[in-house]
Each structure stands twice: as C-alpha cells, then as structure tokens.
C-alpha cells in the first residue's frame, strides 16, 4: 500500500488519541497550501487515508496536529501558551510506490513522530 496515513497515540492517557484535529497541507510554489482538515476516529486513525496512492506525488507535505486543543477538550489544565500546542510535522514523499505512515505520539510535554509502517 502506498499513500499517506497517520495515527495519534495519546501517551499521557495510554490510549489512541480520538478526535484530534489535523490540518493537511501540500507544499506548492514555495508555501504549504492547506488541503483539508480531518479528525481522528476512536482508534486514533483517520477514517480514510490522508492521501490515496493515486493522489500522492513526490513532494513535501504537512500534517499539523492540534495537540493542546485535544488536551484542553478533555479538561486538562494547560499553561498559556501550552508547551506543546500545534505541531507541524513536515515530511517528503520520495517514492510514490511506498507507503508513508506518519504517527504522532504526544503528551502535553512531549511529542514524537517517525516514518512508521
């Protein structure tokens, strides 16, 4: 499988990060162009792929994770401004035949991303 997918893991709660907003953008002409907003489902994934294989081109992409908004919705008392707030994860697709799974592991004080599978 090719294309782009993500998975949010809430490492503060030890569970999938459900209902987190993610803005997806594509690098075009020297700037990230907003494509759409998605929200994670109960499994911390998105219902559809972020980008399906036929639509995936070599280039640069951004997944902006609204981490502080997610924790605030759960009633967590965060500082102002929060330490981890919105996290722009920017990565490149270099081979459209490959799958790019880009997870987000977060707490209000840490975040981690990597090329997963």
């Amino acid at each position: 499988m090719a294309g782009i997918t993500t998975h949010v893991l809430d490492n503060e709660a030890g569970s999938p990060g459900a209902g987190m907003r993610i803005d997806f953008s594509v690098w075009e002409n020297g700037a990230f162009k907003f494509v759409r907003t998605v929200h994670t489902n109960n499994d911390g994934r998105t219902d559809g792929m972020i980008l399906k294989p036929p639509d995936t081109k070599v280039g640069r992409y951004e997944l902006k994770f609204y981490v502080a908004e997610y924790y605030a919705k759960q009633g967590m008392d965060l500082p102002d401004p929060p330490f981890v707030e919105t996290v722009p994860v920017r990565f490149s697709v270099f081979d459209t035949k490959q799958h790019y799974h880009v997870p987000m592991l977060c707490t209000p004080w840490t975040c981690t991303t990597y090329r997963g599978s």
Binding site: D77, F83, R90, Y114
Partner: protein, 160 residues
C-alpha cells in the same frame, strides 16, 4: 497530569516567595527533577536546547538551528546557531531579560546536516527542515528543550 500541574504551580509560587533557600531545600529533600527544575527567581529564566543525533549516535558538527518567536502571526528570526559539543550550543539561546513569554520555534536544518555528512538518503529526504514549536509560559523558569533526531524521526520534550 492535572494534579501534578497544580502541585508544580504551587511549588513555583512558594519558590518565588521564599527565594533561593527553597531551591536548596528542593535539591536536598528528594523532590523530583521535574519539580526542582521549575524553581527560579525573577530574571533567572533561560532557554537552552540539546540536539541529540540518534542516527550517528552522537551529534556531529554543522547542525544549524534557527530560533524564532511568533510575533504578529509570523515566526520572526531571533538568531541562528550552530551546535557545538555534541549538540549543545555555546551559550544559552535566551537568558535574563531576553526570555519572554511566547510561542517559539527551533528550525532544525536536518537536510543540510545529513548532506554535509554524506548520509546515504533518498531525495528529497523524508525530513528536511524540522520545526520544533513550543510555548514558553513563564519567563522566570528554565526551559530546556532536548530534541532527538534522525533522518526518519524526531522527538522533543520539556527537559531539565
């Protein structure tokens, strides 16, 4: 998490009121690192980073990082630094009066770094410039931001 936040905040207030003696007490009374690092008097804020290369196992020379602060909706460059001594910087990024509450970005030029060291990576690299964003919410605290990175991953957290 909420409970520890409250404890931490109370402790900071106590520390500010009672001065450095509280800091000594914290260091000797077995307080957790997470609590003792928050103790700082007015004007003692500091911002430092530690960029840790988990690809080579040790940060090499040539890693450029741009520090910016969000002002008027845009991240404005404050300074550009090159890491020294295994991923630290020669001086704190900010200290004293230069530490201001706000939203900051550390832009890590990983593409140039790994190209400089001739890492065998695809083009374009999976990660090129990485924006580490964080909020600095108390100008009197010490904020240490360790960043673990490789060509395929990165992680950052509020350190001590």
């Amino acid at each position: 998490m909420s409970t520890s936040d409250i404890d931490r905040r109370d402790f900071v207030v106590t520390g500010l009121a009672a001065g450095a003696a509280v800091g000594v007490l914290a260091a000797t009374s077995g307080c957790s690192q997470a609590t003792s690092m928050q103790v700082a008097a007015a004007g003692e804020g500091r911002l430092t980073l530690h960029a840790i290369d988990t690809y080579y196992g040790q940060t090499r020379e040539g890693l450029i990082i741009d520090l910016s602060r969000l002002e008027g909706g845009e991240y404005k460059l404050i300074k550009s630094v090159e890491t020294v001594k295994r991923g630290r910087t020669a001086e704190p990024l900010l200290e004293g009066k230069d530490v201001k509450v706000g939203r900051y970005e550390l832009l890590m030029h990983l593409d140039d770094y790994f190209a400089h060291h001739k890492a065998d990576l695809p083009t374009p690299q999976f990660l090129s410039t990485v924006a580490i964003r964080f909020g600095l919410y108390d100008a009197n605290q010490k904020f240490h931001v360790p960043i673990l990175f490789s060509p395929w991953s990165y992680s950052y957290y509020r350190g001590s």
